[in-house]
């Protein structure tokens, strides 16, 4: 009776694992329907293509990097990425001042990087009678302006900020005079709240003077104030391409980063390389598994078949576990899978060799199986724990794909211990009764 109970339990566990790993049954609300099974494991950037970016927040004169500043920066970056239309980006904080951004399947990583990494602090500066050319830059302290090539001259000029981009409500790319074909691309903006009022007052009282528009300390344009600007809307015309105007509009809508960030690391895997790697490694993994399965059958015959059944269940459980934990499968992760298949057969080899010895020593089949299992146990435990230790260290200290490797290895070794011990044992015990027992020879 108890035996039947356990068989039902194991059957249910296997069904659940199939559902978790490949989802052959989908759900609309509570109504189930059949669908094409697909592996439910997240693919890492190295397998689906995409960009991995590490940013580090930098201290400025006025502002030291704080946890709040980094959090705020992450929020701004998230807003910007949302505008890029990236599906399922991840933005994580690492340590005190680092931000890790992962963008799956980005078409133009350089554009993404420009948008993510720019501080995008927009300032409207009162330069009174001084017109500044495009490309002139202020120093960080805001006291000296360097003119662009060819002059390269520096002039002392205090940066007197009237309003900043923080007061903007909206920004859009448009064409000058609404002429799509002939007009120069511009960015129109709309101030909100007190910013609008301040802007109106300032423009009213400084007619004829220059209001220089500065982005990240670099002059975009230096227009003359023609008259009082009411309603808080205005436009920025630099020498933009439409693309640049759009990017600037995105940056202004998402807001400026509270602290500047530096790109420490950028890794992009093109979509075709990712797909190739996935196809090749899956094929190689499948070939390796088939070879190992054949190898076990050649070596142990019927017990080898039992070990192979356990091995296939092992693969199923592993993928179910990875899917449940929402772990990411990376290229090294697939290698880890193949290695852990090797470890999974190792447990079986240890047990079978031990049973063989016990049988050679003259024990009966049942007794030999029992004592073989008992004696192999300490070797299996010790050898697996040492691998687990290595995987744990890699998980803690590794990043990106290496973490994926460690995760797969760790979970793989745990599950392989379970299948080797519980599943193979159950199968062998079942087979050690008539009529199957005469096939259980273990090569003796």
């Amino acid at each position: 009776m108890l035996r039947v109970f356990w068989r039902v339990v194991i059957g249910l566990v296997i069904l659940a694992a199939v559902q978790l790993a490949a989802a052959p049954v989908g759900f609309r609300g509570w109504r189930p329907y059949l669908q094409t099974p697909r592996l439910q494991v997240n693919l890492g950037l190295d397998l689906q293509g995409g960009s991995h970016i590490v940013l580090e927040a930098q201290d400025t004169k006025e502002l030291k990097v704080t946890a709040e500043a980094v959090d705020a920066a992450m929020e701004v970056i998230r807003n910007r990425i949302d505008q890029l239309g990236v599906v399922e980006p991840t933005i994580q904080r690492e340590g005190e001042r680092r931000i890790i951004v992962e963008l799956p399947g980005v078409e133009d990583p350089q554009r993404a990087l420009r948008i993510i990494g720019q501080t995008a602090l927009l300032e409207f500066v009162n330069t009174a009678s001084q017109s500044l050319p495009e490309g002139a830059t202020w120093n960080a302290a805001g006291t000296v302006v360097t003119l662009p090539d060819p002059e390269k001259k520096t002039i002392p000029l205090k940066k007197e900020v009237v309003v900043t981009g923080a007061n903007l409500g909206d920004a859009r790319a448009a064409f000058e005079g609404g002429q799509v074909n002939t007009g120069q691309p511009i960015v129109t903006f709309q101030f909100k709240g007190p910013g609008a009022k301040k802007f109106e007052e300032f423009t009213g009282s400084h007619i004829g003077q220059y209001l220089t528009i500065v982005l990240d300390n670099r002059v975009i344009s230096s227009p003359v104030i023609q008259g009082r600007i009411t309603g808080g809307s205005g436009q920025i015309s630099g020498r933009f391409t439409l693309e640049e105007a759009r990017e600037l509009a995105v940056l202004l809508r998402a807001g400026a980063l509270p602290v500047p960030v530096e790109v420490l690391e950028r890794r992009t895997i093109g979509p075709s390389l990712g797909r190739d790697s996935l196809d090749l490694s899956l094929r190689a993994g499948a070939i390796a598994v088939v070879l190992i399965i054949t190898f076990m059958i050649v070596l142990y015959r019927f017990p080898g078949v039992l070990a192979d059944v356990a091995l296939l269940l092992y693969a199923l459980f592993l993928f179910a576990a990875l899917a449940t934990l929402r772990a990411t499968m990376t290229l090294p992760g697939i290698a880890a899978f193949v290695i852990s298949v090797g470890m999974a057969i190792d447990a079986n080899v240890l047990i079978f060799e031990r049973i063989k010895e016990e049988l050679r020593a003259g024990k009966t089949l049942r007794a030999g199986i029992q004592s073989g299992w008992d004696r192999a146990w300490s070797a299996i435990l010790d050898s697996n724990v040492t691998t687990l230790v290595g995987a744990a260290v890699l998980f803690v200290l590794g990043t990106g794909p290496i973490k994926g490797f460690a995760t797969t290895l760790f979970i793989g070794v745990l599950i392989s211990m379970f299948t080797a011990i519980a599943i193979t044992r159950m199968l062998v015990n079942t087979a050690s009764r008539p009529p199957l027992e005469r096939y259980l020879r273990f090569g003796v």
Partner: protein, 324 residues
């Protein structure tokens, strides 16, 4: 069954180990490790061009950008692909290089573009060293606890250092580039090597606990032969899987799999011809200290080992308890 005297021939093993390790160590000393951009910082561009470009042509394309020191590689299997490694470039520079290649060779597709700042590289190197040392330490601790003997742990550890030297040495000899996944290779090798050694040590422990009156070196030899089939079977299975990955797993995985393969071979080898002989040598040393001038190993008996190493393991007791 014919019995092989592995322990008696262990000196050949030492010779073979030295034969592999010494050139590796010399290469390590002379050339050092060929660190990739993961560790040094730099830019890597892997492009698929519209049409084939020779290495000289590619170098000529790069020249206007002043990257004389860039390393350019091609693989014979995919002639339209090139791999450029250089010091860290800004995003604008990377874009300019991509454009130049696209113009001259009928378009490009970016397969891989990586830029690693020098700080990240330095950190990664530190972390890698930390990871390997931490991994080694934790495993020694685990073995010491499980075997209740520092001697077994040290034997396993010497085998481990042997394996790491072999793998690192061969990478230095072949000038293969070492990237962040090399750390994973090293730790997996550590895991595999210990795993394999532990299986043999486990059998030695078991036979020691049987307390048969048998010279220690005979006992070690017998234990090794008893588990030899499993060692070779598992090692063979792992190698088969790795060979398949090497040839069919695509170029990205190749160095990674190569390192693992070396590790599996040396890991299997070292449990038999390094770890176990170390135990025997140790025993001989103890015997010699106790002034038994001749035939030390032959007369050394197991209880002494137990006395010195504290090898009175309750393993059997525990086992019988479980058996009820």
């Amino acid at each position: 069954m014919r019995t092989w005297d592995i322990i008696g021939n262990r000196r050949w093993g030492y010779l073979l180990s030295l034969f592999v390790i010494i050139p590796g160590v010399v290469a390590l000393y002379v050339w050092g490790i060929n660190f990739g951009i993961d560790f040094t910082g730099g830019t890597l561009l892997n492009l698929r061009l519209g049409r084939e470009a020779s290495l000289d042509q590619a170098r000529a394309t790069l020249r206007p950008f002043g990257h004389e020191d860039a390393v350019i590689q091609k693989s014979p299997e995919s002639p339209r692909e090139i791999l450029v490694r250089t010091r860290p470039l800004s995003e604008e520079q990377v874009a300019a290089v991509e454009r130049a290649f696209a113009q001259q060779y009928g378009g490009t597709e970016v397969l891989r573009a990586e830029r690693v700042g020098p700080t990240i590289g330095r950190e990664l190197r530190q972390k890698a060293i930390q990871a390997v040392i931490l991994g080694l330490l934790l495993q020694v601790v685990y073995i010491s606890i499980r075997f209740r003997s520092i001697r077994f742990a040290i034997a396993a550890d010497i085998a481990l250092v042997h394996d790491l030297l072999v793998v690192i040495g061969i990478f230095a000899l072949t000038r293969k580039e070492v990237d962040s996944s090399f750390v994973a290779v090293l730790l997996t090798v550590v895991g595999y090597s210990v795993n394999d050694t532990v299986v043999i040590l486990d059998r030695i422990r078991e036979n020691v606990n049987l307390r048969l009156r048998e010279p220690f070196d005979r006992l070690v030899n017998r234990s090794m032969l008893e588990v030899l089939v499993r060692s070779l079977t598992t090692g063979f299975g792992a190698i088969v899987a790795l060979i398949v990955l090497y040839f069919f797993g695509g170029p990205t995985l190749r160095d990674f799999v190569f390192g693992l393969g070396i590790g599996v071979i040396t890991g299997t080898y070292s449990s038999i011809l390094v770890a176990s002989p170390v135990l025997v040598e140790w025993q001989r040393l103890i015997d010699r200290r106790q002034r038994r001038p001749t035939e030390v190993a032959e007369t050394a008996s197991v209880p002494e080992l137990a006395a010195v190493g504290g090898n009175t393991l309750p393993a059997r007791r525990r086992r019988s308890r479980r058996r009820r």
